[in-house]
């Protein structure tokens, strides 16, 4: 199967192409078959190729397709590169991706806003899967960049899928532009890397990375981090992700939870060789992760929109992954990437079921009491939540625990660990809040569950993976990626790590079910200000709008007429002015003409006399 590796990205691409050229004229059922089927087939091929790869025992497998371009010594080739990292990634992308596609065939069926957009939706989704696969399979940073930009594009297209609402368009453009800022940094990183090492081939570059001096390695590491930060919605380029929830919920599940947003994690993991040479850059990765983790988990606590809660949660979970990479627990980071893909996809899909059943109601305070009426979504949400909170034995527990314990040992002291544990506590708090408010209590909106097998089937599979994904895959990944954690679990730090989230659940239950009154705290002026500060996402949007957007708009407004043109207009006006003055001399009077001739004669004679 390995020789058919190219089929893995090619199948979704073919699906996209088929849907693109038929211009939405195919019957929806065939669209569904093509859309989900192409990804499903890709998953099968990936599975087959992966098994063969694991059995072969080789460290990597490369399939060269063609040389993209050849200019002097710049010869990036389109080569697919399979190693444990990309294998895990492609497995997640095709596997989880297929489940989400399957769910979407039901979710998007006879959609209320875009009933004619069914084919367009799956075209974009397939294109996304293709791009994401190119991102992780590309053996060259330029190919990676192709996928990188491709997923950004699809993200833009899908966030703005309901394009008739200008707000969605705004959210889509914001996502694209903010991540482009990161992409720009990344592109500069590529320029620098090429200048220093003469190749963008990842393996070649990493092999030659030893030639880099420390400063250069740090620069490259920081620039690539810039790219990763943008794509993975980390501070300071995180502001686009909550708005990106404007897209259909399967999109949020696939792109803004399971796959695309983890591309930054993949990039840093892939370029580990550079970060090994640049401790400063690596520390920056960890700091970015920690800061994002804290900021977003506090923010999640104050959101009311179920998808925004999940979005902030995603940011914080990716913060864990960044922190993992930063503190050196890179296999644990990848492990968390995978488990997070399971449980976060589950959470999003389940919330999508809820939203659909409530006729697109997303405010958790307008839900309530749903656990009886929507049992499958509720069960799925619950399972996803406990995995998110990292209750022991769930998949999230395995990976998060490994990260935090590595952080404990980090050279700078236990600060990363402490921050991570605090965030874990907060995670428990906001997750509990979400579950309690939305599913317990009294019913505020009457749901109509219309989900069928194609919708709850994926939920079930993902639920199983969320629970068991940790221990099922732990040993395999431990093998493939290298040792995931080193610390025995009987350890004070380990104990705190395990217990604190549980405390969070208990506290959250009491507070949000109203059994414990904290109104005096929340309603105090300080509490209120803090709440609004958190709710706004720590005012990043507010600041960015004033620092970047507003000045740009101002310039655009005042300079619409192009100030440079003024120079030419003035020249033209002056020339015209000369004409008018000159025309005045042409009075038509004979004697005036004669007088001028006389003056001319005198001037000529004066010139002659003076030379």
């Amino acid at each position: 199967m390995l020789e058919y590796l190219w089929l893995v990205p090619a199948l979704p691409l073919a699906g996209f192409f088929a849907l693109f050229v038929t211009e939405g004229k195919l019957p929806d059922k065939i669209v569904a078959v093509i859309g989900a089927g192409s990804v499903g087939l890709a998953a099968l091929v990936a599975l087959g190729a992966g098994m063969e790869f694991v059995q072969s025992g080789e460290a990597s497998y490369a399939q060269s397709l063609w040389t993209w371009m050849a200019v002097g010594n710049f010869t990036p080739s389109i080569t697919l590169y399979l190693d444990p990292l990309s294998l895990v990634m492609s497995g997640v992308i095709t596997g989880v991706g297929f489940l989400i596609h399957l769910f979407a065939t039901g979710y998007m069926w006879k959609d209320h806003q875009e009933p004619e957009g069914y084919s367009r939706f799956f075209a974009y989704m397939n294109l996304f899967v293709f791009a994401m696969l190119m991102l992780v399979l590309g053996d060259n940073l330029l190919v990676l960049f192709l996928g990188w930009e491709g997923v950004g594009l699809c993200s833009y297209l899908l966030i703005g899928f309901y394009h008739r609402d200008p707000e969605n368009g705004y959210a889509a453009r914001k996502a694209f532009v903010v991540t482009r800022v990161g992409d720009t940094l990344m592109a500069i990183g590529l320029f620098l890397l090429f200048r220093e090492l003469g190749s963008l081939d990842i393996q070649t570059a990493l092999g030659d990375a030893g030639q880099l001096d420390a400063g250069m390695a740090t620069a490259i590491g920081l620039l690539l981090l810039g790219g990763a930060v943008g794509k993975s919605a980390q501070v300071p380029l995180q502001t686009w992700l909550p708005d990106a929830m404007a897209g259909p919920t399967p999109v949020s599940a696939l792109i803004h939870a399971a796959t695309m947003v983890t591309a930054g994690v993949y990039l840093i993991a892939r370029m580990k060789g550079i970060y090994d040479l640049a401790p400063v850059a690596q520390l920056a990765v960890a700091i970015v992760g920690l800061v994002t983790l804290l900021i977003s988990s506090f923010t999640a606590l104050t959101q009311t929109d179920i998808k925004r809660i999940l979005a902030y949660s995603t940011m914080s979970q990716i913060g864990y992954m960044f922190m993992a990479l930063g503190v050196g627990a890179w296999s644990a980071g990848i492990f968390h990437l995978m488990t997070h893909a399971f449980f976060k996809a589950l959470l999003f899909l389940a919330s999508g079921s809820v939203i659909l059943a409530l006729h697109h109601e997303q405010d958790i305070f307008k839900m309530g009491g749903l656990w009886r009426k929507l049992p499958v979504p509720f069960a799925s949400m619950l399972i996803g939540s406990i995995a998110l909170v990292a209750v022991p034995l769930t998949s999230g527990f395995y990976s998060k625990d490994a990260i935090l314990l590595t952080a404990w040992e980090h050279g700078t002291g236990p600060w990363f660990w402490a921050g991570g544990v605090l965030a874990a506590f907060m995670t428990a708090l906001y997750t509990t809040r979400m579950m309690v408010v939305a599913f317990l209590g009294e019913t505020k909106t009457e749901p109509h569950d219309a989900s069928r097998i194609n919708m709850w089937g994926p939920l079930v599979v993902l639920a199983v993976l969320s629970i068991g994904g940790g221990w099922m895959t732990f040993s395999v990944l431990d093998d493939l990626l290298g040792a995931i954690d080193h610390i025995p679990h009987i350890h004070p730090a380990a104990l705190v790590t395990v217990v604190l989230p549980l405390l969070g659940i208990v506290l959250g239950y009491f507070v949000f079910s109203g059994r414990m009154n904290v109104n005096s705290l929340v309603e105090s002026s300080f509490g209120d200000a803090l709440r609004r500060f958190w709710q706004s996402g720590w005012a990043f949007d507010w600041v960015y709008y004033r620092v970047f957007v507003k000045p740009f708009l101002w310039v655009a407004r005042v300079n619409k007429g192009d100030v440079v043109d003024l120079a030419f207009r003035i020249t033209a006006a002056v020339t015209r002015g000369f004409h008018h003055v000159g025309a005045l001399t042409q009075t038509g009077r004979l004697r005036w003409y004669a007088a001028n001739m006389a003056i001319g004669l005198i001037v000529v004679l004066l010139i002659v006399a003076s030379v």
């Binding site: 004409h579 008018h580 000159g582 042409q586 038509g588 001037v603 004679l605 002659v608």
Partner: protein
């Protein structure tokens, strides 16, 4: 006077004889047809002598006329321009004068004057030729029997031209006083004390010449005369009269080594630059096509001064003369074409001189409009037309002799010029409004053929100028 000298005079004698015959014929038989065809014959027959005379080499007739390739080039050019003018005038004047016969006499006489001027190598012939030309022109300008403009134009031209001629004459007298010779060439050895008088005289002579060439600041008569004169006559004034003066100026400048005097050099350069810039600026927003072309001619004569300056240097003499001749020929074509179009579009009483009247001409009379467009673009110096190579020649001459200031002025002037030439083209391309009645006037066929021919030549020389360039080179300088 040797036989060879007499033979060399053959074209001139034929032209003069033809005029005499025409005079008698017109006096005896008041037939327009006879006068017209007589004039055509008078102008055409002398051309038959030209090739043989040209083959005989340069003849200097009694020091007053130098009949060489240069003189004959202008002879032919003037005759052809006069023929075109005659053809264009025939119908145009029909509605403006009860008797057209004398017009042809004036036209042929003016041509003779111009031809003599171009061959002059002596102040006497210079004076004679120029005044025969000018006096004929006064009458030609005032020829129409009705309306103020022709009369006003003629009066202005007469008075101002008279003043200029006087200045020129006075200059000649001073030169003669300094050098003791009236021939162009003898100005070589002059006592130091006389030198100032000589330069003073040359300056006054130049002022007179500059007037005739309508260079700034002696240009002010130009638009008024161009506008007031009958359209075909304007074409004749713009071409033949200026061509003749330029021819004699160039000859005099070279023979007398005029530009070796720094003072004269400065005067010429300043006047040239002023003309290029002021001429173009004055034309910029002009709405009357005849006036616009007048201002444009001011600029063009300014450009032409580059040829004079270059020809005045020892190294650049050949190139300067060549470029001058080529430019003059090209300028004749473009100007005659432009005024030809104005003539053929004019109705019984009014000249077609408002640019707004040309709106949509391309759709009504495509060929005529194309000719005017070609002429305008040629005047602007755009490739595909002879105007480009004419200007190219000048810039090449200027650059080749490091006349940077003049070349820059030419570039600036041309840059301004593009605007108003293009305005003409733009007006013609306007789509006609549906409610506007079609201009029903018929274009006379002979006028049509003339302008079409001129247009064709503009394009032809713009595509393949090489044979003509080689021809001009072989003529040699004055």
């Amino acid at each position: 006077m040797s036989a060879a000298e007499v033979w060399a005079l053959a074209p001139y004698l034929a032209l003069a004889g033809g005029i005499a015959l025409l005079l008698l014929a017109v006096a005896a038989l008041r037939s327009h047809r006879l006068a017209f065809w007589g004039a055509i014959a008078t102008l055409a027959i002398p051309l038959a002598f030209v090739p043989t005379v040209l083959g005989g080499g340069t003849q200097i007739v009694d020091t007053v006329l130098e009949i060489d390739g240069y003189a004959l080039f202008f002879f032919v050019l003037f005759s052809l321009a006069a023929i075109a003018t005659a053809v264009l005038s025939a119908r145009y004047l029909g509605s403006r004068a009860t008797h057209r016969q004398e017009f042809y006499l004036l036209l042929t006489t003016a041509t003779l004057g111009a031809a003599v001027t171009a061959g002059a190598s002596h102040f006497a012939t210079f004076l004679m030729g120029l005044e025969v030309l000018s006096i004929s022109l006064y009458a030609m300008i005032a020829y129409p029997e009705e309306g103020h403009p022709p009369l006003e134009a003629a009066a202005k031209y007469l008075v101002l031209s008279g003043a200029a001629s006087s200045t020129m004459l006075f200059g000649m007298a001073l030169i003669y006083a300094a050098s003791g010779s009236l021939a162009f060439e003898a100005a070589g050895d002059i006592a130091a004390g006389e030198h100032n008088v000589l330069v003073l005289g040359q300056a006054m002579l130049l002022v007179g010449v500059f007037f005739k060439l309508s260079l700034v600041p002696f240009h002010m008569w130009t638009p008024d005369v161009y506008q007031g004169a009958p359209a075909p006559v304007t074409g004749f004034v713009a071409t033949v009269s200026k061509g003749a003066v330029f021819a004699v100026l160039l000859r005099y400048a070279i023979d007398a080594d005029l530009l070796s005097s720094p003072a004269v050099g400065i005067v010429v350069a300043v006047i040239a630059v002023l003309s290029m810039v002021v001429g173009n600026i004055l034309a910029l927003l002009q709405t009357n096509l005849k006036r616009l072309l007048a201002y444009s001619s001011i600029a063009h004569l300014g450009y032409l001064m580059i040829a004079l300056v270059v020809a005045g240097t020892a190294a650049g003499q050949a190139l300067g003369v060549e470029s001058g001749l080529f430019y003059v020929a090209g300028y004749f074509l473009m100007t005659l074409a432009a005024f030809g179009v104005i003539t053929v579009l004019s109705n019984e009483t009014e000249d077609a001189d408002q640019i707004s009247g040309y709106d949509g001409l391309l759709w009504r009379r495509p060929v005529v409009a194309a000719v005017l467009a070609a002429a305008a673009l040629a005047l602007a110096g755009i490739p595909l037309t002879v105007g480009f190579f004419a200007k190219f020649y000048l810039v090449a001459a200027g650059v080749g002799n490091a006349a940077w200031g003049l070349v820059w002025a030419l570039i600036v002037g041309s840059a301004i010029g593009i605007y108003y030439y293009l305005r003409i083209v733009f007006a013609m391309t306007k789509r006609p409004d549906d409610d506007r009645p079609e201009g029903g006037r018929r274009v006379p066929w002979e006028g049509f053929v003339t302008v079409a021919l001129l247009g064709l030549l503009i394009i032809l020389l713009g595509l393949h100028p090489s044979p003509f360039i080689e021809f001009v080179r072989e003529l040699g300088g004055p």
